[in-house]
């Protein structure tokens, strides 16, 4: 009895395995198996067993006498072991059978050639429509507050020349000496002898102006954001961005492949609820980086971001802030140091600050500033910095001079703010449009009150208005333009970029002209 139970305990895992496979593939049921086992236990005295026992005894007697039992792996061999071994073989054979798959038939050479001949591609570009043939105005002098178009003197509200530094003698002087010393281009990327001492001086000057540890210079304003964001945001990270950000930021967000969540334009409640939703969903990962992306002064609407509230939210939910200060650098704040000074927030609280220099600084290029670790990392991994030629040296020296001028002449800021206030007064009661920007922003945005329903129609109407302003009243204003790649859905309108170099008569003229045109075209 003891021997039987020992053998059975050895055989029971085998039986269990047998059961699982047999019932799936061959249809032998558990019942028949159980029956087999019961049978062998019940019929211990059948002829087969007798014959087997006799054979075994004969074998053991034939071998050495002391080994009275055949013991294999410490278990006494009994006949049911052989049944189980046989079943094991059957399982192995069934497992090794290939499952049935219909045979694959790859395309023949002739079929491939036929497909290639039949294929007709779309034309490279869709047919050109009439509105695509619109030509922009061609300037014949510098794009300052007054410029020349077609021989006529025109008041220019289309250049982001907020402090009137275009044509300033100090800038022209420093550019001329840089051109004579260095030529125009820098002939190489920053890593390969394209780093000129003016670049390093410019970076130091910007860091000193903003009181940040370090700065990195880019050679093109638009590429600043779409090179910085993919550096720090990779697949899997979470970015919460304003829905009104400009194309450069949108492209950067797309290239970063992170999860992007948009919140309503400049709406702090929407931001708060979005952050709340995200934090309750993803409490786990420690290596997940979270960012809020916003612009200081939005290019598409002229609104100013409430930085103090953003910083409060960021500290509560542990996000990092990436801020684009292109239109607020040199403009907001008592001394022009940007949005942080305007709201009284210490600049260390903002993790990454980028800006394009083609606005208040009247030069080209862009920069990014922050703590030393962030800037050092960009010097090797930011594609727009490593794989592109560096900024022409005369533009870098123009940037240094422009910052010096801003430092030494704070009255330029005061004048600009006065002009904005004057313009607001003049445009307060315009019919058909309403002022949608912030009263302190240098971008004065007039949005259409009654949209026709189709963005294309609205854009054509605004273009007509801008053309008439140029032809009849010699005024250059900006009508919104949209590329099909731009995902921003904010209302379109007319933009006026106010400069410290405008005179009061210019501002009165533009208000009168726009009021007249709006009443003629929009009502």
């Amino acid at each position: 009895m003891i021997e039987n139970s020992k053998a059975k305990s050895f055989a029971s895992p085998l039986l269990w395995a047998n059961d699982i496979f047999c019932s799936k593939s061959t249809g032998i049921s558990w019942n028949s198996l159980a029956a087999l086992c019961w049978i062998h236990r019940a019929k211990m005295d059948t002829n087969l067993v007798e014959m087997f026992r006799a054979g075994l005894n004969w074998v053991t007697m034939a071998l050495d006498a002391p080994s009275a039992r055949v013991v294999l792996f410490g278990v006494r061999i009994q006949w049911h072991i052989f049944v189980e071994v046989l079943l094991g073989f059957v399982i192995v054979i069934l497992l090794s059978q290939k499952s049935y798959k219909p045979p694959k038939r790859p395309l023949t050479e002739q079929e491939i050639d036929e497909l290639c001949d039949e294929w007709v591609p779309e034309p490279l570009i869709p047919p050109i429509t009439e509105d695509m043939r619109h030509e922009p105005p061609v300037l014949e002098s510098a794009a300052g507050p007054h410029t020349t178009v077609n021989g006529k003197d025109v008041v220019n509200f289309a250049s982001a020349n907020y402090l009137g530094l275009i044509g300033h003698e100090k800038l022209l002087e420093s550019c001329t000496s840089a051109l004579e010393k260095y030529g125009v281009g820098s002939c190489g990327p920053r890593g390969f002898y394209g780093t000129i001492d003016v670049h390093l001086d410019c970076e130091t000057r910007i860091s000193k102006f903003l009181s940040t540890p370090d700065t990195i210079l880019y050679s093109y304003g638009l590429s600043t954001m779409f090179s910085t964001i993919p550096c720090f945001c990779k697949k899997g990270d979470i970015i919460v961005a304003d829905e009104g950000v400009h194309w450069g930021i949108q492209n950067g967000l797309q290239l970063s492949r992170s999860t992007i969540v948009y919140f309503k334009h400049n709406d702090m409640d929407s931001l708060r609820s979005t952050l709340e939703k995200i934090m309750t969903k993803n409490k786990r990962s420690k290596n997940l980086r979270r960012y809020i992306v916003a612009e200081a002064v939005y290019q598409n609407s002229g609104q100013i971001a409430p930085l103090d509230e953003i910083v409060k939210l960021k500290e509560k939910y542990k996000f990092r802030v990436i801020l684009d200060e292109s239109n607020s650098f040199g403009v907001l704040g008592r001394s022009g140091r940007g949005l942080a000074e305007h709201h009284g927030v210490p600049i260390e609280k903002i993790d990454v600050v980028t800006a394009a220099m083609g606005h208040a600084l009247a030069t080209e290029g862009g920069f990014c500033t922050g703590n030393a670790r962030i800037i050092d990392y960009q010097r090797l991994s930011s594609s727009g910095y490593v794989f592109s030629a560096s900024l022409p040296p005369y533009l870098a020296s123009a940037a240094i001079t422009a910052i010096d001028v801003i430092d030494q002449n704070p009255e330029l800021l005061v004048k600009m703010k006065q002009h904005i206030a004057l313009l607001w007064k003049g445009l307060k009661d315009i019919k058909g449009m309403s002022l949608a920007s912030d009263p302190e922003s240098p971008i004065v945005f007039l949005k259409l009150e009654n949209s026709s329903g189709s963005t294309k129609e609205d854009l054509l109407l605004l273009e007509k208005m801008a053309d008439r302003a140029l032809k009849e009243d010699s005024l250059l204003v900006v009508s919104s333009k949209k590329s099909f790649l731009d995902k921003c859905r904010l209302p379109v309108g007319i933009k006026l970029l106010v400069s410290a170099g405008h005179s009061e008569s210019d501002l009165v003229k533009v208000s009168e002209s726009l009021k007249r045109l709006a009443s003629e075209l929009l009502l």
Partner: protein, 489 residues
């Protein structure tokens, strides 16, 4: 074709393995160190994860002084390289006020417009005084001046296409134009060694990307056939359009693209050709019109021609040239044209003046001289280097010459040796090149004189002997053979 000797491959792998092992060891010890100190990043994930910048911290920082060398003069044939020193084992480098005058073999100054030019610079300064450094506005608002209009006409005529559009940066040109031309449902087939700007633009467009073997038209044909027959992935719908992207001169190999074969393959399968002539415009061809002129390809066969002005014209910016309708469409939709500040007016004037000099329209034959000189210089330099036994890549006539180094230790050794002898070279390693194939890249300029090149050859030969990079046997010297023959006689 790069043929790396077996022993060199083994020793390179071993060197990298050793560097990696030491780097990991230092990381572990830093981890233990940091456990003891406090961390002030409560609740925030680290902005740069440890494994992402391992290469930067442990390998790149050791040889940081070979890269990002600042200069304090124009990037001409001779430059003043500023000396730097380090107090913390190359982690941070500080500037000094001293500089050394070195022969410049690293800047992309193919025709010598990189410094003060007697024709170009006075005109540039004039346009600066008239138009100021920037227009602070995008091209469609108030950023188009008469100089911009003239520039686009000039470029279109020079390149041989009906119209052109100019943007302020070469990198952004690719990133902003490719998404406008092709989107989801389209296919981009690009060469395996294309530049990062093309890869960025292709990724940003949303189209499917396939790669073909570098400069192999036969493989391109195979890929095209396969892809057209299969259609879009998963749905198998036919592709909307196919664009094949190639470069004129590949900057890391110095090779010229096999344009006639590629154009004929694309014509057969109705794919569009996009040619990026960043390094080849102005540098090759009889009148500097690039790879189409050199290889005899009709410009009407190439649908989209792109190039940059940084290399041969000594300015900044990029252009796209094509049919009038294409350029009109791009002007209406391209984000770089609608939203970005227009190219700086003095830079635009520099390009116009440089093109006038090249074509001889300034009244002198300096342009033709420059073009002839760069061809002569490149061919002479390449032949001499090959005679000395260096492994030099690239085709004849191409002004870009990579010299193979392979081992990671030879990268800083070669660079520092050359700098000691006042020759400034550029060395490139991983990740710009594959791991095993580090190289030193020479860029010849038309402003190098014969004496400059002979001095450079002497210095490079000495540095090459010291570092052991003469992988091929040197050509036997003919004079010694003649002497022997005379002796026997």
């Amino acid at each position: 074709m790069i043929t790396i000797p077996y022993l060199t491959a083994v020793s390179t792998y071993f060197s990298y393995g050793l560097l990696f092992a030491f780097g990991q060891l230092r990381d572990y010890s830093r981890l233990i160190f940091d456990w003891c100190s406090t961390n002030n990043l409560h609740g925030y994930a680290p902005i740069c994860l440890a494994h992402e910048d391992f290469y930067i911290r442990r390998l790149y920082h050791r040889i940081q002084d070979c890269f990002n060398r600042p200069i304090s003069s124009a990037p001409d044939s001779w430059v003043d390289v500023i000396e730097r020193y380090s107090n913390d084992n190359n982690k941070t480098l500080k500037r000094t006020t001293k500089s050394t005058r070195c022969l410049n073999l690293g800047s992309y100054n193919y025709l010598g417009f990189g410094s003060f030019d007697e024709y170009c610079t006075p005109r540039v300064i004039e346009s600066l005084k008239k138009f100021s450094a920037s227009t602070c506005s995008s091209r469609v608002d108030a950023g188009t001046t008469s100089v911009h209009a003239e520039l686009e006409e000039c470029v279109a005529k020079y390149v041989g296409k009906p119209a052109a559009i100019v943007t302020g940066m070469g990198f952004a040109t690719n990133s902003a134009i490719i998404p406008v031309l092709i989107g989801k449902g389209g296919l981009i087939i690009s060469d395996s060694l294309n530049h990062t700007s093309i890869v960025n633009g292709a990724r940003g467009s949303g189209a499917t990307i396939r790669v073909f073997q570098h400069n192999t038209p036969a493989h391109l044909e195979r890929v095209l056939k396969e892809q057209i027959a299969e259609g879009q992935p998963r749905t198998h719908r036919p592709w909307k359009k196919i664009i094949v992207v190639v470069e004129g001169i590949y900057s890391m190999e110095g090779e010229i693209c096999q344009l006639p074969e590629i154009v004929s393959v694309c014509k057969k399968y109705k794919a569009y050709v996009y040619l990026d002539e960043a390094h080849s415009i102005g540098a090759i061809g009889k009148t500097g019109r690039g790879v189409c002129e050199l290889l005899g390809v009709d410009t009407a066969d190439v649908d989209i021609m792109m190039g940059t002005f940084t290399k041969s014209f000594g300015s900044c910016g990029g252009y796209i040239a094509g049919s009038k309708e294409l350029i009109q469409y791009l002007k209406y939709h391209c984000p770089a044209h609608l939203y970005a500040t227009s190219i700086s007016t003095p830079s635009a004037q520099q390009i116009i003046s440089a093109i006038k000099v090249i074509l001889g329209e300034d009244g002198s034959n300096r342009g033709a001289q420059k073009l002839a000189r760069i061809r002569e210089n490149s061919n002479f330099f390449r032949a001499e280097l090959q005679k000395m036994g260096f492994e030099v890549l690239g085709d004849n006539d191409s002004p870009v010459m990579p010299i193979m180094l392979y081992n990671p230790a030879k990268i800083p050794a070669f660079s520092r040796e050359c700098l000691r002898e006042n020759v400034a070279v550029v060395v490139v390693g991983f990740p710009a090149t594959p791991l095993l194939l580090a190289r030193a890249r020479i860029c010849i300029s038309a402003s190098h004189s014969r004496e400059d090149l002979i001095k450079a050859l002497k210095v490079i030969s000495k540095a090459g002997d010291l570092t052991g990079i003469k992988y091929f046997p040197a050509a036997p010297k003919k004079q010694e053979e003649e002497k022997d023959r005379i002796k026997l006689d």
